[in-house]
Each structure stands twice: as structure tokens, then as C-alpha cells.
């Protein structure tokens, strides 16, 4: 194959592809999923945790979701150490803007600046790209609630709902069918997130230890944004709600089947 061209990150292959970027995307597709859903009154980010050993010291440890500044939060999919470097840079970008302009940076500004850095690693320097995809959720006074995705190539885009990481294709197809544009409130978004994760996670049963969910909301009256990680009891309640819905659907389906078989007799 075209293995000769893999050694340097910053070289095109004869077919016009950047293999290192594609390999980075491949690495991300094996990592824990990140899911983002935009609602009319807030944004939801959900992450699939992979490090769930009971030996982990979890004083204030978040594996997937990090706050960048008061109005911006992101979820990580990919190589954690690469992500830590970029998260630090994201926070610096936000603070540099705040120092110069004395007001919070627009979300797209921060995402765009980080993606310029990511792109640089695909073009010059001879270093490999960062093996991380981010989902960003934020609020700013220009465009309100926003959801962005960025990947190792330095590309970014705004989304209404999207997923990266393990089984993201399945998740996206579920979102395409079930996400209602313009009619989704925060509670609907949370229920949809649980529904998607129940189907895409490898485990048979969803538990609060396996997922992280954060919610961002902005209060127009006080002009404050709150970013909140859902606690274990809230997650349990959401999961239970989903399980109850599923059992009800299952019960209805069985009743339907029983009715149709009796009819045939």
C-alpha cells in the first residue's frame, strides 16, 4: 500500500489524502463517545466513560467534560493526554481575549483559533496531529446557544446534534430520526441523550458510572450562564425513566402480538 507516505505527517499521499489525519480519526473512533444536543433553552453534552475502575480516586475527576470558561464547555474524544494540552490552550485563548477586550470571547472565535493550531500540525513542523475530537457547547450574545465539533484535521462545524467516538455513526442515525429541530427543550434533549447512549454503549445496562452529562443554560435576566454536571441521582432518575418507557413499549408490543395471534385463531 502507500505505507511509505505514512512516516511524515505533513505529506500528501498519491491519492491526495493525509494519512496521519485519517489515522488520528481512526484512533478517535475507538475511544469513548461524546454526544451533543442543542435545545431551545440550553445545550447538553454527554460522554461515555471508559475509565471506570473502582480503584480510581475520584475526588474531582472528570474524564470527558471540561469547562473552558464561564460560557463554554467541551467534551473530549480521543487521546486524553493530547486533549489536556488542547484544553489548556482553549482556556488560554479565552483568557487572552478577556484581557484585551474585557468581555467573554465569542464561541466561534475560540473554536476557530484552536482549529488553526490543529491545522498547523497537519501542514508543517513534522509532528503528528492531535488525536482528539472535541464537542463544544456554549452561549454568547451574538448567536445564543451553540454546539460545535472539531477534529484532528482542524475542520470545525456548527451542529444541532452530533456524536463523535465509538459507535458515532449509529448515534448520528438515531439522532437524525429522533431529533426535532425547533421543538426540543432541555428535558427532551436529556432523554434523547440517554436513549442514544443506551443503544450505542457496549454494555447491556446503562449506569451512572458509565456516563457523564453536563448541561449549559443561560439566564437572560441575570446575564449569567450556568454549566452543571448532572449528579448520580439525576442520572439514575433519567435512566430509570428510559427503562420504564422501554418496558412499557415492550409490554404494549407483547399485548399487540398476543391480540393478533388470538385474532388469527
Amino acid at each position: 500500500m502507500a505505507r511509505r507516505y505514512d512516516t511524515r505527517a505533513t505529506i500528501f499521499s498519491p491519492e491526495g489524502r493525509l494519512y496521519q489525519v485519517e489515522y488520528a480519526l481512526e484512533a478517535i473512533s475507538h475511544s469513548g463517545a461524546s454526544l451533543g444536543i442543542l435545545a431551545d433553552d440550553g445545550v447538553v453534552l454527554a460522554g461515555e466513560k471508559r475509565n471506570i475502575s473502582p480503584l480510581l480516586d475520584d475526588v474531582k475527576y472528570s474524564e470527558k467534560i471540561y469547562k473552558i470558561h464561564d460560557d463554554l464547555c467541551c467534551s473530549v474524544s480521543g487521546i486524553t493526554s493530547d486533549a489536556n494540552v488542547l484544553i489548556n490552550e482553549l482556556r488560554m485563548i479565552g483568557q487572552r481575549y478577556l484581557l484585551t477586550y474585557q468581555e467573554p470571547a465569542p464561541i466561534e472565535y475560540i473554536v476557530s483559533r484552536l482549529c488553526n493550531i490543529k491545522q498547523a500540525y497537519t501542514q508543517y513542523g513534522g509532528k503528528r496531529p492531535f488525536g482528539v475530537s472535541f464537542l463544544y457547547m456554549g452561549w454568547d450574545k451574538h448567536y445564543g446557544y451553540q454546539l460545535y465539533q472539531s477534529d484532528p484535521s482542524g475542520n470545525f462545524g456548527g451542529w444541532k446534534a452530533t456524536c463523535v467516538g465509538h459507535n458515532s455513526q449509529t448515534a448520528i442515525s438515531i439522532l437524525k430520526q429522533e431529533y426535532k429541530i425547533g421543538e426540543t427543550k432541555l428535558n427532551d434533549a436529556l432523554r434523547l441523550a440517554i436513549r442514544v447512549f443506551s443503544k450505542t454503549l457496549d454494555t447491556t445496562k446503562l449506569t451512572p458510572e458509565k456516563i457523564e452529562i453536563a448541561v449549559l443554560q443561560h439566564d437572560d435576566k441575570t446575564n449569567q450562564t450556568t454549566i452543571r454536571m448532572l449528579k448520580d441521582d439525576e442520572l439514575t432518575a433519567l435512566i430509570k425513566q428510559y427503562d420504564d418507557e422501554q418496558s412499557k413499549l415492550e409490554a404494549d408490543r407483547q399485548k399487540q402480538q398476543a391480540a393478533s395471534t388470538t385474532d388469527r385463531k
Binding site: 484585551t100 477586550y101 474585557q102 468581555e103 465569542p106 466561534e108 476557530s112
Partner: protein, 226 residues
Amino acid sequence: MVESIIGIRGKDFVVLAQDANTTKYGILNMKFDTNRLFKLSEHCAMLAAGEPGDVVQFSEYVGKNIQLYKMINGIELSPYACANFTRHEMATSLRSRNSFLANLIVAGYSTNEHDQQRAQLYAIDYLGAMVTSNVVAHGFCQFFALAIGDRLWKEDLTVQEALAMLQTIVNEMGKRMAAYPHCVFVRIIDAKGIRVLDNMYPEKIIVTKPSELELQTSADMMDIHS
């Protein structure tokens, strides 16, 4: 110091005034239609006065950078952000080899509905100190503008009231400043953008003729025969 720049904030507008003279050697009036206004964005502008070269150099640098921001990010900076950026540049350049002797007034109207105070007015001096106020001025005209502003400014000032205040200030400047402001350029910034209003002139001072009695000397009064 002899150049005057004044800003007055009203209910949902800001009025900007500047004298239009360029003086040289403290005595010559080179030009009486000098423009001191630099546009920063559609709803934000800056008046600058001070060392002539520094004024243009700094104002153009800041103005072009703010335009560049709009080109890169697709959104306009709010007047608050423009003013803070300008102050930051002034403060940074002061602590380097090249400082600018320029006093500025940054004024604008915020088009973002999340802002409480839509009409915004800031004064930045050449040392990088920034204040926001309802009436701001730089130069010797400060003595008159701020004092008259204290007396005449009120909440929910209308455009007519602001222009009347400005005319009072200009009249006073015409009376009391040796560097007579032949003409004052007036602009307004509001929701519709930046507009130029009619020029303002100091009112003509009418001085009574000296009386003929002063023409009499003691010698004249000695003649008792005519």
C-alpha cells in the same frame, strides 16, 4: 492641549464634537477643517487629539485592527470591547519603546439587545487610563465642557438638549479660549449609525464701543472759553 474633543451621551445616542483648527508654533492657524474622527465600526467611532503624528498613527492602527476583527470573525466588536482594546493597546505601547501622545474619546451604540446601556461613551488618555461618563472632553476645553455638562446634563437627555448644551460649551470656548474655535464639527452615533450634523460656530461676541468720554484729557477740560 488646544485641540478640543467633546462627547455627550444621551438617552440612546452619543453626540461627538471636535474643533476643526490645526495650529502651528502656538500661533498660526494652518487649517480650519481638520477631521479628528476615526470610524471603528458601523456604530462606533473615536475622536483623537494630541501630537498630530501620533494621533493619526495610533488611531489608524486601532481602527484597522478592529476592521480586521470583523473580517476574520464575521461579527462587529461592541463599543465596550473596542474601547477596552484601544486602552489595552495604549497601555502596552506606553510600556515599550514607542508610546503615543494621543487623547481619545471612544463612542458607540451597541446593537446587541443583551446590553443594558446601549449608548456608550469612554475617554482614554495618553497614559492608558479609561473612564466612562455622560460628558467627556480632552484638552483645555475640559474646563468648560465638564462644568457646563455638570450643570445641564440630565437623565434621558434628548438630541436637541444635547446640541443646546454643546452650543453653550462652544460659545464659552469662543469667549474664553485664546485658541478660538472657528468651527466645530458635530457627529451623532445612534441606532441608525454614525451621521454628520451641521457645524457649530461660537456666537458672535458683540462688544460695546468705547465711549467718547475716554477721548477727553485733562488738558481739554482746562479750556473754559470754548
